[in-house]
Amino acid sequence: MSALGVIVAVVSVAAAAAFGAYIAAWVDIVLARAVAGVPVRPLDALIAPVSWGAAVALKARTTTERPDGETWALAPALLAALAAVGLAAAPLAPGLLAADVASGIVLFGAAMALVVVAVFLQGWSPNSPLPMIGGYRFIAEGLSYEIPLAVVLIAAALPARSLAIAPIVVSQENLWNVIRQPLGLPLYLMAALGLAFWGPLALPEGVDLAGGSSLEISGVSRILWRVAQLMVLVAVSAMGAAVFLGGWLGPLLPGAAWMIAKTLVLLVLLIGARHLVARVPTERYVIASWAILIPLSLLDVFIAGIQALVAAR
């Protein structure tokens, strides 16, 4: 790829991630109003994220007593960068892929595995107890979502016999992975909630910790952190759409339209979980993950392996 191509790809991914985060914020507001039983007013909700951002931007960036300033500043940038890398691995349409690498699914998995570092830094850096507990929590639950996520992604790659995302999409021409591997998408979405520390698995930032790892941030740092978190949600939704819902495959509409629509569906599901599913206690989630989710993900990859063997004959 030429230098110009790299620049175009980086700008495109950044724009897509930022726009996706804006849409995610809008969906969140609309769903919150719907669940609360107040008038939804979707058009008014379009301006709400902008108003919120302006109000937060006008506030000073505060500090705490003896924070680790460098890592504190790094945390939102790292999270946003990891989300962008994850999104770059998801193809919008045939040939329309920012990070067209032979092991795209590994790239995505590696980027998402490092989210734990960004969240821990955000919690640990301000030298404040409740954010630090939030950071601890994320470390404690890390493997509990990372293992199911990695295993179901491997299972989804098996029918394609490739770790690149485009062949995985093409391998779903006859049957989407959501049907071929029925355990895959539900497990992926549960892991995605943990990865994006969102909704029932917003454990590092729970109300019980008064905001946890993001309790001490204000001003532009708060905006960056929230946008980066929404970017992670968009990235996992896009990858879920590509790997389990056939990506750009679909009749009549252009491939990109199908990909965007499927990403939106997963985004709505993930955001809706925030308003309908209560926070899960950390220890019970970890136990459930090791006792149920990880064995189910292994079953998923086992079934996918058998299917691949049968198909090869």
Binding site: L31, A32, R33, V35, A36, G37, V38, I47, A48, V50, S51, W52, G53, A54, A55, V56, A57, L58, K59, A60, R61, T62, E65, P129, I133, Y136, R137, A140, G199, P200, A202, L203, G206, V207, D208, L209, A210, G211, L215, E216, I217, S218, G219, R222, R274, H275, L276, V277, A278, R279, V280, P281, T282, E283, R284
Partner: protein
Amino acid sequence: MTSTLARLASGAPSRCFALAGAGAGDVGPWLRLDPSVAIVDSPRAADVLLVLGRLEGEMLHAAAAVHDAIPPPRGVVVWSPDGWSSRRWPFVDAVTVRDASEIAPACRRLRDDLFRRRLASSPDALPDLDPAPWRGVGPFGQGGAGMTGGVPYGRPLAGRADDRDGLRLDQILVRVGPFLPPFPPGLLLDVRLQGDVIQEATIPAPIADDAGASGREGPSGAPVPHGHPARLAVAADSPFTTALTRPVPIAELELARARHHLAWLAEALRVSGLEAYGLRALKLAFGLDLESAESIDALDRWLRRNVSLRWGTNRVGVVTRAQAEGLPGGPVARASGDDRDARSLDPAYQRLGFEPVVRGGGDALARWRLRVAEARQSVQLAKRSRTSESTPSGVIEDPRGPLSDDVPPSAGLVALLPALLVGMEWGDAVTTVVSLDIGVIDPAVREVTSEGTGP
């Protein structure tokens, strides 16, 4: 640039960090229904410090620290229905309102004026000093009592101890409160944490203050001496306070009880991560009438079907039957199988066929279910009662428990906390404290604990 941002920001709700003091009543929950105000969980996310009711003694000092944690530009709005003020008031430029309906517009105006620079940000109320003098010898706090036993800036370094899995891990000592949002305002806890797990919880001894000499009145109008437990959690304008001395229509009492339980449910749902559904409960609470039983049923059905809520509350914070019997009564005791309810002794309630709602289990789930069932029962009682009035007897069943001149409604619950919380993960501890519905606490509550009141 700033004026453009200020124009855009005017469409956002005014973000307030609310401090509830004595007499705040249910103004805080009620404000959550106003879309022009957002009550936030961290002062760092706030524009306005909102003081509801009276703050005294060390609560005022804590309020000043919270104020200084709000990033500039910031302002202070005080709701003071009786025009109360303190000579130790730390905020020089606070906007005071008397009418609750004026709170949201005042917050909004103040926020807009701050953003448009028509007003200066409220200055720091406390000096920016280290919380305690440097007491270590070396640059990292080493020295003092042993190579790693220094106490830099008055804080002990993390020590190590065995955890529940047999590992030796760091422990940190953290003081939480008195304004940690999920906790009752005024509650101070010293907790020793190992990761997310509470290894030790104590309620610190009170700091001497002059609050008790303020000449405040108890529920029956009698002066309350310093440290008297009746200083706690009693709203002077509550119908339950009035019913101690005068007959009050049962419909009024029972609708107030149902409203309280539903407002509590909204807060409990919010702490469980279901803020939007909590707003639904809050709307029901403040729109409550004699025909609301079916709406409460619908809410109850939803709660029962929500597996995740059951998962987060089942077997959490169990108050045993023996512990319940050490309490003066109230919903927490009834959720542990103890059927005491002061209404059972009132002839007016007996004529209505009143039977206390009782649940077993004693965990947070049982307390959730009991309060929803009581809210429903209260609406039905209100509907049946027509013109019946309560019989004053010196004791009334407040939504939090029996209230008298001598005993506040949530007496004994704070004393239960240390034993309940040890060994819990922080999230479960918060679920437990919220499920007890302790109410606003004055610093004197810790005197109650230290005197050994409660089981």
